[in-house]
């Protein structure tokens, strides 16, 4: 499954999460700081713009006042008698006096109708004959007050504005012209008084975009130059003739907020354009400064918060959690004495630790109980084992006793019997003439009894040998066993003309000698207890998982089913001895052999129809259920 996308940056560790929380807590402060700085910046921009506008407005007003004053002066001067009379000396004296009173004028002069300046406060080459000047021509034509253009007089780098007014003689005829010249030095004064911040500037352009004056212009490179047209200052600059403020990069490469206005507006003249600029950097300095300071404070506060989160997180969260984790790992690795311990307080972690300790204690108790139970079980087992050992020892002893009995039976019991039979025979032989019929009959019974006892001893010995002469189990091919048994029984088979039919027999796990005995006993019984017709004996086998089930079926005399159990008891007989001889040991031995092989044996029979003896044997390779030693 693909992890959700946020997983990639969502911290997995507690410390990481803690830091994320701290960051989230600081975030609003950061937003506030940035927003404040933005606000302050806007205010700074507004303030800078309004300041520049205020100044250009003031300059416009001053400019208009100066021109108005000049008009008044010229108007008055034109009425003065000496001027109208064209008296050179008187005019010169008057003008000099006026200049003392109004030092703001760059020049004052009077010219005759021919344009010859006959009186001037600051005589210069340019001011000898002004007949060619546009303002003179317009004044002579009787236009009244004439406002000229800002021009640079020849050989001067100070722009001057000339103002003229016609002088009328008797009869209203124009006889001369009075002229005043204003420079732009007043702007510098105004600017200085405004105390604009460092890096501020002002510029005055005339209608032809020639720079009339500029500050700063340390090398006077820009003064007198024509401002190239550009997308920012198109020509004619109709739109920026209106009072406005905007931001752009000046010719000196400094970006400023500029205020624009035109000079001479009140007279409908608009002869010059003035701009005042305050550097953006300066205007924004307070907001930038504040932003820096606030960011610094915030960074410090954030650092402290992170430090507190680190230390506090370690002390109050991470350390206890890690202790808990370590305890859990120890518990996981099987150390049941592991406890979170020492996590004090009432918080969730303390609760968790105490819950963990309870759980661990519970586990430990359970484990210890189990260990105790196992210990008890082990002790019990040991006791059982020792009892089994004692019992086994006892069994071995009784087995040894049985073997001893077998030896005794084969040797010591036979001796006296042989004596009985031998001496009875000797008696019969040696004293034949002296014994009557009865005596010989009695001796016959005695011999018969002794012989039967002899057989019983042999059979008892054979029965005991099922255990004492047992051999380890090995794979035994039952087909071979059956063939061998049929060879042994050849004579008996021929005698009763029996027909024996067998399935292919499997290989089983067992003791070959004993299995031979088993098959031989069962087949011999089937031959022995035959009925009227010739015996038909069928040996069958089928798989009854996990064993093989064999059966030997005959068509003999059968037996009542109420005796089905008794026939397997040692020396149990169902028939008269003279009819079917035998001690009654065969089936007991069969049962003992089958049981030793971990199987069982039983009979199904019907009187007169026949009997079927069935038994089970373990399949080859399968461990026998019998507790047989020697494997």
């Amino acid at each position: 499954m693909k992890a959700p996308f946020y997983r990639s940056f969502y911290p997995a560790s507690l410390r990481g999460r803690l830091f994320l929380l701290v960051f989230l807590a600081i975030l609003p402060a950061l937003v506030v700081v940035v927003y404040n700085a933005f606000e302050l910046r806007q205010t700074g921009i507004q303030m800078a713009k309004s300041e520049t506008l205020q100044l250009v407005r003031l300059a416009g007003a001053e400019h208009d006042r100066l021109i108005d004053n000049a008009r008044q002066l010229l108007l008055t001067l034109a009425q003065v008698r000496e001027v109208r009379a064209g008296d050179v000396q008187e005019c010169q004296a008057l003008l000099d006096e006026l200049l003392l009173a109004y030092p703001a004028y760059a020049n004052l002069g009077v010219a005759d109708i021919e344009g010859n300046v006959f009186a001037a406060v600051r005589p210069s080459e340019d001011f000898v004959n002004i007949a060619a000047e546009p303002y003179f021509k317009r004044a002579v034509e009787g236009d009244g007050f004439v406002l000229g253009d800002y021009v640079f007089p020849k050989g001067s780098d100070t722009a001057l504005l000339h103002l003229a007014y016609p002088v009328r003689g008797r009869g209203g005829r124009v006889v001369g012209v009075v002229v005043a010249a204003l420079d732009l030095a007043w702007i510098q004064v105004l600017y200085r008084e405004a105390k604009l911040p460092e890096g501020s500037s002002y510029t005055v352009l005339n209608r032809s975009r020639v720079t009339l004056t500029r500050f700063p212009d340390p090398n006077r490179e820009l003064t007198g130059q024509t401002l190239p047209a550009s997308p920012r200052t198109p020509h004619p600059p109709s739109y920026y003739l209106e009072e406005h403020a905007r931001e752009f990069t000046g010719r000196d490469g400094v970006r400023r907020f500029y205020g624009f206005t035109t000079l001479g507006k009140t007279m409908g003249d608009r002869s010059a354009l003035m701009t005042v600029g305050i550097p953006v950097e300066v205007a924004l300095a307070p907001s930038n400064r504040m932003l820096r300071r606030n960011l610094t404070f915030l960074a410090l506060a954030g650092l402290l918060a992170f430090l507190a989160a680190w230390l506090g997180g370690s002390a109050f969260i991470l350390h206890p959690v890690q202790r808990l984790l370590q305890a859990t790992r120890r518990l996981e690795s099987g150390d049941l004495t592991a406890r979170a311990g020492e996590v004090k307080g009432r918080g969730e972690i303390a609760h968790l630790a105490s819950a963990f300790d309870h759980m661990a204690a519970g586990l430990q108790n359970q484990f210890e109980e189990r260990v105790r139970a196992e210990e008890a079980l082990r002790e019990l087992n040991q006791e059982l084992e020792s009892r089994v050992e004692a019992r086994t020892h006892e069994l071995r002893r009784s087995n040894e006793a049985l073997e001893q009995f077998a030896y005794v039976a084969s040797h010591d019991l036979r001796e006296p019997l042989r004596m009985v039979t031998s001496y009875l025979e000797l008696l019969e032989k040696r004293y034949q003439e002296k014994l009557d019929q009865n005596a010989r009959e009695f001796i016959g019974y005695a011999v018969d009894g002794a012989q039967r006892m002899h057989r019983l001893i042999d059979d008892l010995l054979a029965f005991s040998r099922v255990q004492t002469k047992a051999r380890p189990f090995e794979p035994v091919a039952c087909d071979d066993i059956l063939r061998h048994v049929l060879e042994n029984l050849q004579v008996a088979i021929a005698e009763v003309q029996a027909v024996i039919d067998s399935d292919p027999l499997p290989t089983v796990q067992g003791d070959a000698t004993q299995l031979s005995q088993l098959f031989q006993n069962l087949l011999a019984n089937a031959l022995k207890f035959h009925g009227e017709e010739a015996p038909r004996i069928q040996v069958r086998v089928r798989r009854v998982w996990p064993d093989w089930e064999f059966s030997v079926a005959d068509n003999g005399i059968g037996l009542p089913m109420e005796h089905a159990q008794r026939i397997f008891v040692i020396f149990q007989r169902l028939h008269a001895r003279d009819r079917y001889p035998g001690t009654g040991i065969g089936l007991s031995i069969c049962q003992k052999i089958v049981e030793r092989h971990g199987g069982r044996i039983w009979v199904a029979s019907e009187v007169g129809k026949g009997s079927t003896f069935s038994f089970t044997l373990p399949a080859e390779g399968q461990a026998a259920a019998s507790g047989e030693a020697g494997r």
């Binding site: 030896y407 084969s410 040797h411 010591d412 036979r414 001796e415 042989r418 004596m419 039979t421 031998s422 001496y423 025979e425 000797l426 032989k429 012989q451 002899h454």
Partner: protein, 143 residues
């Protein structure tokens, strides 16, 4: 030429001794049977010790296994350990048909092992067979 055969019968059961003597009495060859009833006596007889100082050295020993004191196997082992007795044929004549008894007897170099048969006639045939073979047929070292 001495036609009588000297036989040492080691047998503790008087009934058995009597039966053997009865059967051998009617044998074609004359048998002189000396009887001892336990292993110690048998060895003393063979070594001509004590009361048996003048005992005749037997040509054949019929040795029962189940004897009081030293049993048949032990007597056999002693005999075969003594060079001058090792040449006497020893027929183990026992009621036991136990395989271990038989095996042990042959391992101890018994000449043969014969189980005591049932019945007088069977016994007669058996003993005559033994005597006929070991005295009449088999070659034995000179005493």
């Amino acid at each position: 030429m001495n036609t009588a055969t000297d036989i040492l019968l080691v047998e503790d059961n008087p009934a058995d001794v009597r039966m053997v003597l009865e059967v051998l009495r009617s044998a074609p060859r004359v048998c002189r049977v000396q009887v001892v009833v336990d292993g110690s006596q048998a060895l003393a007889f063979l070594r001509r010790q004590g009361a048996y100082e003048h005992a005749t050295r037997p040509q054949l020993v019929l040795l029962d296994l189940n004897l009081p004191g030293l049993n048949g196997h032990e007597v056999l082992a002693e005999m075969k350990a003594e060079p001058h007795l090792a040449g006497i044929p020893v027929v183990i004549f026992s009621g036991s048909r136990d395989g271990q008894d038989i095996m042990k007897a042959y391992q101890l170099r018994a000449s043969c092992y014969v189980s005591k048969p049932d019945g007088v006639e069977a016994l007669r045939e058996t003993l005559q067979g033994i005597e006929g073979f070991w005295i009449g047929t088999a070659s034995l070292p000179l005493s």
